[in-house]
């Protein structure tokens, strides 16, 4: 079944700018990458981080600053944002990784709140107004990112690279140990695995790719703002992941697509959107607990057996 998904993903991905509004497609890819990065942690390592907005938004600010104020190439901007997220991920990870379950979630939340505070207070972020008007510029000097189709394919390439890294990580010797840790941590420890180090590496990879997503977002929207570092952003990515199906490779992509589309399509209904989103959650949690992709996989499995 995964084969079908791969074909679908790449096919739709390549055709997208001719099918839908390119900015929408790019936004979707950005959040899909964010959700996939998050899923590496939640779905495959069993760690619920409630502070991923710090990586996403933090990277967005750094990228924006590097491009707008330091006038660097967009690619350098994205790399700078990604690197920042990686370092931040290492710091968060070092502080939080020894904690379990809800404590882990809360300590990442607290750290992310501190990043939020910094984003509000530091002079270069533009405070409440955010970092606006980030120029798209020319990547590597020749790819004109102001051309909607060109920028779309750049974003698609970034997404695919990120997605492949995640795929590889899950299906690697390293991923095998992550699964073992999730299954029975004390036993993994007693077999001589340094559980903390495995979790930390997974955390850093996840943070880094979340950063890549945020960095890319700031170029697409030419914008980095407090929304990107707000705890609700951390919440949103949890939702995307769960809706699509945590611990499934393609689930987060589907989840991101659903959430983003919903936000987009329902934008004119005011508070009723909130009510609708709330109701969808309730229904999903009660009925589609495995997420869309998870449920689909189960159905197909049930049929084949």
């Amino acid at each position: 079944m995964n084969g079908v998904f791969w074909v679908l993903l790449i096919g739709v991905g390549l055709a997208a700018p001719y099918l839908v509004y390119p900015v929408f497609a790019m936004k979707l890819l950005c959040f899909a990458l964010f959700a996939c990065a998050f899923n590496l942690l939640l779905g495959y390592t069993g760690l619920l981080s409630f502070g991923h907005a710090a990586f996403f938004g933090g990277a967005a600010y750094i990228t924006g600053h590097v491009i707008k104020v330091m006038h660097m190439d967009p690619l350098i901007g994205i790399l700078a944002g990604t690197l920042f997220a990686m370092v931040l991920g290492a710091i968060f990870g070092a502080l939080a990784i020894r904690r379990q379950g809800i404590y882990f979630a809360m300590i990442t939340l607290a750290l992310a709140q501190i990043i939020f505070f910094l984003a509000l207070k530091l002079p270069f972020t533009g405070g409440e107004n955010g970092l606006q008007g980030i120029p798209r510029g020319h990547m590597l000097g020749f790819i004109d990112l102001n051309d909607p189709v060109a920028i779309y394919y750049v974003v698609f390439a970034i997404f695919m690279i990120g997605f492949l890294i995640i795929y590889r990580t899950i299906h690697s010797p390293f991923g095998q140990i992550l699964t073992a840790i999730r299954e029975n941590e004390p036993r993994a420890r007693s077999l001589g695995y340094n559980v903390e180090r495995f979790k930390l590496i997974a955390f850093v990879i996840s943070a880094t790719l979340a950063g890549t997503a945020g960095a890319t977002k700031s170029i697409i929207f030419q914008f980095a703002s407090l929304t990107d570092v707000h705890w609700q952003m951390s919440g949103e990515v949890v939702l995307m992941t769960l809706l699509g199906g945590m611990g499934t490779l393609f689930g987060p992509v589907a989840g991101a697509a659903v959430v983003i589309t919903m936000q987009d399509e329902l934008a004119s209904f005011g508070s009723w959107v909130q009510v609708a989103i709330g109701a969808i959650f309730v229904v999903c949690v009660l009925i589609f607990r495995r997420g869309f992709v998870g449920e689909l996989a189960r159905l197909l499995k049930a049929k084949s057996s």
């Binding site: 010797p173 991923g175 140990i177 299954e183 036993r187």
Partner: protein, 250 residues
């Protein structure tokens, strides 16, 4: 002087005002099967936890194979070849039986941090894993998801994963607990078999098992050593009979 693979000196553990293990010395001889017995709450599991560094000792020192490991992490201890089992069965429930063993074997491959490699590199471990399963009689269950195994087989699987690390010292906490007598016999034989090239330290309440396996027995009572020696000797000790074995014969 005898050749001790593990030496503990003055080992103590205090829990908030309660002394679980009190100034205990323990020598485990290389190549032997050593049993730790004693009444409930005597501190056996606590000793195990301290030796494998799962909990920190309040005082005392532990020397394993010539190295002082008193401050090492549980991981470091395991990597030096001192591996434990748990009082409750410890497997990776949703992995297949084969994968359970492979996870342990992978430890020696040195690729475990390689998140950029395909997991296909692990297929080289299959033969070794099957051999181990063969050894504990689980070869035919290799593809079964391990939760689905019966209790006794889970214990066997656990022993197989422990063996995969090629440990020099195995610590087994009540390996036969909860098994029917049929399985007890099998596991006893298994322990006997794997002890050939290894040292084993075990906690066990089943005196039959202890009698048939142990070269040396340490009886713990209220955190202190009550008696030490071979089974025949210890089982005649009136203090041991009173504190542990009771009046009747087993």
């Amino acid at each position: 002087m005898s050749d001790a693979i593990l030496q503990a000196r003055g080992l103590s553990k205090k829990f908030a005002g309660f002394t679980a293990v009190d100034n205990m010395d323990l020598d485990v001889e290389r190549g032997s099967i050593h049993a730790l017995i004693g009444p409930n709450g005597a501190g056996k599991t606590t000793v195990f936890n301290m030796l494998t560094r799962f909990i920190a000792s309040t005082s005392g020192s532990i020397v394993y194979d010539g190295t002082d490991i008193t401050r090492h992490s549980p991981t470091a201890v395991a990597n030096r070849g001192m591996v434990r089992s748990f009082q409750i069965s410890a497997i990776f429930p949703h992995l297949s039986v084969l994968d359970n063993v492979r996870v342990a074997l992978q430890q020696h491959l040195g690729l475990s941090y390689h998140f950029w490699r395909s997991s296909r590199v692990l297929e080289s471990l299959n033969d070794r894993a099957m051999a181990l399963l063969e050894e504990v009689g689980l070869a035919e269950f290799a593809d079964v998801i391990s939760v689905e195994l019966a209790y006794g087989r889970k214990r066997a699987l656990e022993i197989a994963t422990t063996l995969a690390l090629d440990p020099r010292l195995m610590l087994l906490d009540e390996p036969t607990q909860g098994m029917s007598s049929e399985d007890v016999g099998k596991v006893t034989a298994l322990i006997q078999q794997v002890s050939a090239k290894r040292t084993i330290l075990m906690v066990e309440h089943n005196l039959k098992v202890v009698e048939s396996l142990a070269d040396k027995i340490t009886v713990l009572n209220r955190g202190e050593i009550l008696a030490e020696g071979p089974y025949a000797e210890v089982s005649r000790d009136p203090a041991v009979r009173q504190a542990y074995m009771g009046t009747e014969d087993v």
